[in-house]
């Protein structure tokens, strides 16, 4: 009992920080100087049809455990994992969603703050693969414009029951302009790789976005650009 309370208290402490980062609607990646536990926080979402293995996938990544049957997620749940990327501590707040049709409205409400999506189907279930396009539409409708997506075909350990070939998955990913992995939460295949890749894509996007608006970095006076230097302009790329 004591033990449990401790856990909750820890949880509270941890989450206070998340809240700061998650507030304000649009995704943020500002560094919180006061926080010692992480440099950035990314909110990620795992979506896809019911019982394609979203919860198992998340538990494999966050706890490195596998249970063949998780309770079907009611609404939405999340887990936290901190990773190191380019010498930075990145805290991942990974939201696990219910796949049932009736939960669409509830779950799509959480899309907006997300910076990355893992869109999952089950290679042994044709219907879940056919729904991918619908899910993409959901992302386009409800998410932030720059949100990154990775398509994942899960349960690739169940080769005998496979109905969606890897080739079809790859073709669909190409068509959608997203990256693609086949994974197995059970055999721990590519689980870590998917998350790491997604974090990398988000980091790339983030530096791109910062580059395109140098004034933002200066954080100074309105309209201030790199000040014009009449002399000593040794950087040929500098367009001032």
């Amino acid at each position: 009992m004591n033990n449990n309370e401790d856990n909750i208290n820890n949880g509270m402490e941890q989450t206070e920080k998340c809240v700061e980062m998650a507030g304000g609607g649009d995704p943020k990646w500002q560094k919180d100087a006061a926080d010692q536990n992480f440099d950035y926080m990314f909110k990620l979402l795992i979506i896809g049809n019911s019982s394609v293995g979203k919860t198992s996938f998340l538990f494999r990544y966050a706890d490195d455990s596998f249970t063949s049957a998780f309770v079907s997620t009611v609404g939405i749940d999340f887990k936290v994992k901190t990773v190191f990327r380019h010498d930075k501590r990145v805290k991942l707040q990974i939201w696990d969603t219910a796949g049932q049709e009736r939960y669409r409205t509830i779950t799509t409400a959480y899309y907006r703050g997300a910076m990355g999506f893992i869109l999952m189907y089950d290679i042994t279930n044709e219907e879940s693969f056919n729904s991918v396009q619908d899910w993409v539409t959901q992302i386009k409708t409800y998410s932030w414009d720059n949100a990154q997506v990775i398509l994942v075909g899960n349960k690739c350990d169940m080769e005998e029951e496979r109905v969606v070939s890897a080739e079809r998955g790859r073709q669909l990913a190409d068509q959608l302009g997203v990256e693609f992995y086949e994974t197995s939460a059970k055999e721990n295949i590519n689980v870590k790789a998917v998350f790491e890749r997604l974090v990398d894509i988000i980091c790339d996007k983030m530096s791109e976005s910062l580059d395109s608006e140098p004034a933002m970095l200066a954080g100074g006076a309105r309209g201030q650009r790199l000040t014009e230097q009449p002399q000593g302009n040794s950087n040929p790329n500098c367009n001032c």
């Binding site: 909750i8 809240v19 500002q30 004034a215 002399q231």
Partner: protein
């Protein structure tokens, strides 16, 4: 100097350098070598871009700081080892010099010193002392010192020394190789000397400088007379609509107040510069001497126009936006401004519109009997002004259709695939021309005109009207239909939510009259089940059959009517998420979350039970989560539904058969509506500004686009709201200045292009505007050039209030 010793030694072993000046020379040599500017350096640039780059080195000499800099146009292509290095470089300089005479001395080529433009140089060295070099003998010593350094290094780039006072554009320069030496001279006088005040005097000066032993060819001349037309009134571009006179005028035009101002209200043109240009004529064709001149600017082959704009153009739109942005720092409650504060809840809401002369009937009815005994708040805005504004924002309250909202309010979102993002596309939108736009723009204009009191009063009336509409179940017009759309701005979401409440309330009292119209009936709480429970065998609340699916019992499976999940605005969703995050991410927290989320699951299960009497959980799962259903045996649960302690079984266990219509509502419209109204009333000044700014910025951007500004939008992400607003405001400001400028240019130049030859109509227009005759030229410029046996010789003079004469004269230094 001893050739055996390298520079390093020279520098440190002073015994070889006997005088101070030799140290000076040695230092310059060292720098030139370091920059690899010797002619022996094999790599030669042959193609250049238009961008100047430079290298700088500083050194002190006898307490005076010198800055030696090397300026070159960026090379886009270098060539290795040209054999005739001398000739190659010389030709480049001479060609540049000749070509430069087709431009003018005051043109700007982007390099930090004017010499490149004067002489058409692509590369040059410049030595600037920190103190002015006035003393003639000192200048001579420095010139000869740099000359020695230049020769020792065999430098491949012309070298200049800045002389005289710093403000004077005076430079002495030279370039030499084995055969020729070119001197670049400058004369700068504060007054125009008599001899040089006319073309013929300049020509004779030019000829005497060349001192050619043989007869010269005809000198070619180009001339430019510049006129500054100060009186630009005939071209003033005026956009009026910004005066705040509406405050005192009866029956003003609402449009005046509700449209954002744009552009500059003062004449943004400082002056119009007219250049009359004679590109090229022979010395004898035009006479201009001390006694007679037939130079007539009206006959000049080319006229060009450049506009000089005022430095700080005051742009009205940006001013309005900036004023609003300033409010972001004010954290007082907006209603405190009116002295109403939180007591507002006590003030009986009666809206102005209810007293209006023309009103829709139900509003009038509602007003009767209430108006007499109510302490009514009197705001600073007079009714004559307020009423038309409110009718503009809530046009459905009046029969007049002037300001009716369009029936289809489209929210235009940024298309992911659209190539050209519009100005401020990253600002959250709301339907263009909808209520949020009208309200926000009106608020900005009122604030501009009457200050915070006016803004507060408008906001007060706005919230009062919303309260009235909620109470009387009248939808808020000009708001997009449906649940709050998180892609729209927060104020719009709040109004969407309010409309959801109003709609629900309308349905609650209107459509269900068949059963009961008592409000409390729908508010039934869980412990009332005794009266409300239905017989198990009577199905209620069926929507339709689910295909030909059957229950385990064999009866057809019906999909029940269900409650929709509660509509929420983004701040509420954030709060929800925050709450869930606070629980932590362990198993217990996860269980708690599942419980929190199971309200709608319970509601659906109850509705299902009501529609399908005698149904089992597996029947429900067959509809709700088909992949957890197995067809064995008429229906069975999948593995994960059989796990002990799972919320599905638990919830099923407590679910009673209650149709959606009789369930406790997931969405309590009364609570939600009151929350929206309270939210809006209790905002601080800065929070209200936060709500209004998106639409103001969007409307501003739309205005700028309508005024023909191209405007490019930055890609903004990962910054906070305040910063996003600032970026947007900056973009709009830039766009507005650009628009002012281009409108002025269009007015003055019509079809012609600034700085390019003016068409005949344009010349007439300008001349008429100047009153038929041009004033005395503010500046005259002559370029004289001739090619003699040696090289092109060039002299240029700029005569204004002062006089600058520059010359590039080349002589042969070959020993015969």
């Amino acid at each position: 100097m001893n050739e055996e010793i390298d520079e390093y030694d020279i520098y440190h072993q002073d015994f070889t350098t006997v005088s101070d000046w030799e140290v000076f020379i040695a230092r310059i040599e060292e720098i030139l070598n370091e920059w690899k500017l010797s002619k022996s350096n094999k790599s030669k640039p042959i193609e250049y871009t238009k961008k100047w780059v430079c290298k700088v080195e500083e050194f002190s000499f006898q307490g005076v700081k010198f800055v030696l800099s090397y300026h070159t146009l960026e090379h886009s292509c270098d060539v290795e080892g040209s054999q005739e290095s001398d000739k190659f470089i010389r030709l480049e300089i001479q060609n540049g010099l000749w070509e430069a005479t087709s431009r003018f001395m005051e043109d700007n080529d982007g390099s930090p010193f004017p010499v490149s433009n004067w002489y058409g140089l692509k590369r040059y060295l410049m030595l600037c002392p920190s103190i002015p070099l006035i003393d003639g003998s000192l200048i001579k010593v420095i010139m000869s010192s740099v000359n020695i350094a230049f020769a020792n290094v065999d430098c491949s780039v012309p070298l200049f020394v800045k002389i005289r006072e710093h403000w004077q554009q005076s430079y002495l320069g030279f370039y030499e190789d084995n055969e020729y030496k070119t001197s670049f001279d400058t004369i700068h006088l504060k007054r125009i000397s008599n001899q040089c005040s006319h073309l013929s005097g300049l020509i004779s000066l030019f000829k005497s400088k060349i001192a050619s032993p043989v007869a010269l060819d005809t000198v070619l001349v180009s001339a430019k007379y510049s006129y500054e037309l100060k009186d630009s009134e005939p071209f003033v571009w005026k956009k009026t609509n910004t005066t705040n006179e509406f405050l005192s005028i009866d029956g003003f035009d609402v449009k005046k107040l509700t449209e954002l101002p744009f552009g500059s209200d003062k004449n943004p043109i400082n002056s119009i510069l007219l250049n009359a240009i004679w590109p090229r004529f022979r010395e004898s064709t035009i006479v201009d001497s001390s006694t007679f001149s037939d130079i007539d600017p009206i006959m000049a082959p080319t006229w060009t126009i450049t506009l000089k704009m005022r430095d700080n153009i005051q742009c009205q739109l940006s001013e309005t936006i900036a004023k609003m942005m300033d409010l972001l720092d004010n954290n007082n409650l907006l209603m405190d401004t009116l002295g109403l504060s939180k007591s507002l809840g006590l003030v009986n809401p009666l809206h102005k519109i209810t007293e209006a002369p023309i009103t829709i009937s139900k509003l009038v009815k509602a007003a009767i009997g209430q108006s007499s005994n109510i302490h009514e708040f009197k705001g600073p805005i007079s009714d004559e002004l307020l009423m038309p504004l409110l009718y503009y924002i809530f046009p459905d309250a009046v029969d007049d259709a002037t300001f009716k909202y369009p029936s289809q309010l489209e929210v235009e979102f940024k298309q992911a695939d659209s190539s050209e993002p519009k100005l401020c596309s990253y600002i959250k939108t709301s339907p263009e021309g909808g209520l949020v736009w009208r309200m926000s723009v009106t608020a900005a204009r009122l604030y501009d005109a009457g200050g915070l009191l006016y803004l507060a009063h408008l906001w007060y009336e706005f919230t009062q009207e919303l309260q009235y509409r909620w109470e009387h179940r009248i939808l808020v017009p000009g708001v997009a239909e449906g649940n709050p759309n998180a892609r729209t701005c927060l104020l719009h979401q709040k109004l969407q939510l309010l409309n959801c409440c109003i709609k629900r309330a309308q349905d609650g009292t209107g459509s269900l009259t068949g059963t009961s119209s008592d409000d409390e009936y729908f508010d039934c709480s869980e412990d009332e089940d005794g009266d409300e429970q239905l017989p198990w065998n009577r199905p209620v609340g069926r929507l339709h059959r689910l295909g030909d699916a059957t229950l385990k019992s064999g009866a057809p499976l019906y999909v029940p009517r269900t409650q929709d999940p509660a509509p929420k605005t983004e701040d509420q969703l954030e709060e929800d998420a925050e709450l869930m995050v606070r629980l932590g991410d362990d198993a217990r927290a996860s269980e708690l979350r599942a419980r929190m989320m199971s309200a709608s699951l319970l509601s659906d299960m109850e509705a299902f039970k009501a529609a399908n009497p005698g149904a089992e959980l597996c029947d429900f799962v067959q509809w709700y989560s088909p992949r957890d259903w197995k067809s064995d045996d008429g229906g069975a649960l999948g593995d994960r539904m059989l796990l002990p302690g799972n919320p599905w079984t638990e919830t099923w266990g407590v679910a009673r058969p209650v149709p959606a219509a009789r369930q406790r509502r997931l969405f309590d419209e009364t609570r939600e509506a009151e929350q929206v109204l309270h939210f809006l009333r209790s905002r601080s000044v800065s929070a209200v500004t936060d709500l209004l700014l998106p639409a103001i910025l969007k409307a501003g951007a739309a205005k700028a686009i309508a005024e023909g500004v191209q405007g490019n939008s930055s890609s903004v992400g990962g910054v906070d709201k305040r910063r996003t607003f600032e970026i947007a405001a900056r973009e709009i400001h830039e766009a507005e200045i650009e628009a002012c400028r281009s409108l002025c240019v269009r007015t003055v130049l019509e079809k012609s292009v600034e700085g390019m030859p003016l068409d005949a109509a344009g010349r007439t227009r300008i001349l008429n505007a100047a009153g038929g005759a041009l004033p005395a030229p503010a500046r005259r410029e002559f370029s004289l050039r001739v090619k003699d046996a040696i090289a092109p010789q060039v002299m240029r003079a700029a005569l204004g209030t002062d006089m600058t004469i520059i010359g590039a004269f080349t002589e042969s230094i070959l020993c015969l």
